[in-house]
């Protein structure tokens, strides 16, 4: 039986992080983010919300997670 990696090294919002290879959906929930309130770019491409559950994070992935804040 092959062991999967315990952790993957990714970049989230410009910061390096080592996390379990969760799906984007699970990762967002783990860090307390409501997936409905954000938009996500994975490796510079918009990740549609429908794809959050089915997209597993892997080594070298670059995530940008944004939301709406006050602005003019």
């Amino acid at each position: 039986m092959r062991h999967s990696e315990l952790y993957v090294n990714i970049t989230i919002n410009g910061e390096a992080a080592s996390i379990e290879p969760l799906s984007v959906q699970d990762y967002l929930l783990t860090i307390g983010i409501d997936p409905r309130r954000v938009a996500v770019e994975l490796n510079r491409e918009i990740l549609p919300k429908a794809d959050y559950p089915g997209t597993r994070l892997k080594d070298g992935d670059n995530l940008e997670i944004v939301h709406f804040v006050g602005g003019g």
């Binding site: 309130r37 770019e41 804040v69 006050g70 602005g71 003019g72």
Partner: protein
């Protein structure tokens, strides 16, 4: 205004209010909510920024906005290239499920004037991707015409630099823009007090967008109400048809029947 059929129409969507407001620079969320309420605005701008991963206790803007009541207009504030602005708009659409965007591509940090070359590039791409683009631009009729030709849903010429409070610096250009394009003309940036907003509407503009003018006032909620009234007064005055400006007097009382 209630009772009249003078709605603001942008890309086929109708709005009663011709005042649009931003959500930035408020002291706190309750003040922001109260000011937006007092303004009567139905369209509010928001910015798109990274989530703070490490500080998850921070309240979220959308916790305080009733999305059934307001139309969000995400902006591309802070973008200095077409690529960044396009990327931001795609993210905004994904986050907000609406394709309305306020497109800003800045050219300079001190003036925050638009980089019209990059703006036109971004607008062309975004219109093709089905966005409803409301571009912040300079009070240049030629650029406004180009933006209309590209397919923008409105043009938003500045009155003066963002946050400057200088009012409508070039009302003559604004009038020329009104003559030049058929899409709604919305003055965006520079409004400092109520009369500035009224002037924009008296010129014939279809709407006014502001943030600092309200949020930066000593009493933002009172100023929001003032702006609400000013935009409505200015629009009503415009539709009422003002008297011409004359060099000499024209008496208002009869010349006959004077006692001698």
């Amino acid at each position: 205004m209630p009772g009249t059929n003078d709605k603001l129409v942008i890309a086929g969507r109708e709005f009663d209010s011709r005042l649009m407001v931003g959500t930035g620079k408020y002291a706190d969320f309750p003040q922001m909510v109260a000011a937006i309420e007092a303004s009567g605005a139905q369209i509010i701008t928001v910015a798109v920024r990274r989530v703070n991963i490490s500080d998850r206790n921070k309240e979220s803007l959308l916790d305080h906005i009733d999305l059934k009541k307001y139309t969000l207009l995400p902006n591309t504030a802070g973008c200095y290239t077409a690529d960044d602005a396009i990327r931001t708009c795609r993210l905004a659409r994904e986050a907000g499920l609406s394709d309305f965007v306020k497109l800003e591509v800045l050219g300079d940090e001190k003036t925050l004037f638009p980089d019209n070359e990059e703006l036109l590039k971004a607008a062309a791409v975004l219109v093709k991707e089905g966005f409803t683009v409301l571009p912040y631009t300079s009070d240049d009729p030629i650029v406004c015409k180009r933006l209309e030709d590209i397919g923008c849903a409105a043009v938003m010429p500045l009155g003066a630099p963002i946050g400057s409070g200088l009012g409508i610096r070039n009302p003559y250009n604004i009038r020329i823009i009104l003559d030049t394009v058929k899409v709604p003309v919305i003055v965006d940036a520079g409004v400092g007090t109520a009369s500035d907003a009224a002037i924009a509407m008296e010129l014939g503009c279809h709407g006014v967008l502001m943030n600092t003018g309200i949020a930066g006032a000593q009493d933002p909620i009172a100023m929001a109400e003032a702006m609400n009234l000013a935009v409505r007064a200015g629009r009503l005055a415009y539709r009422a048809g003002r008297i011409p400006m004359k060099l000499y007097a024209s008496a208002s009382s009869p010349l006959v029947g004077l006692i001698k």
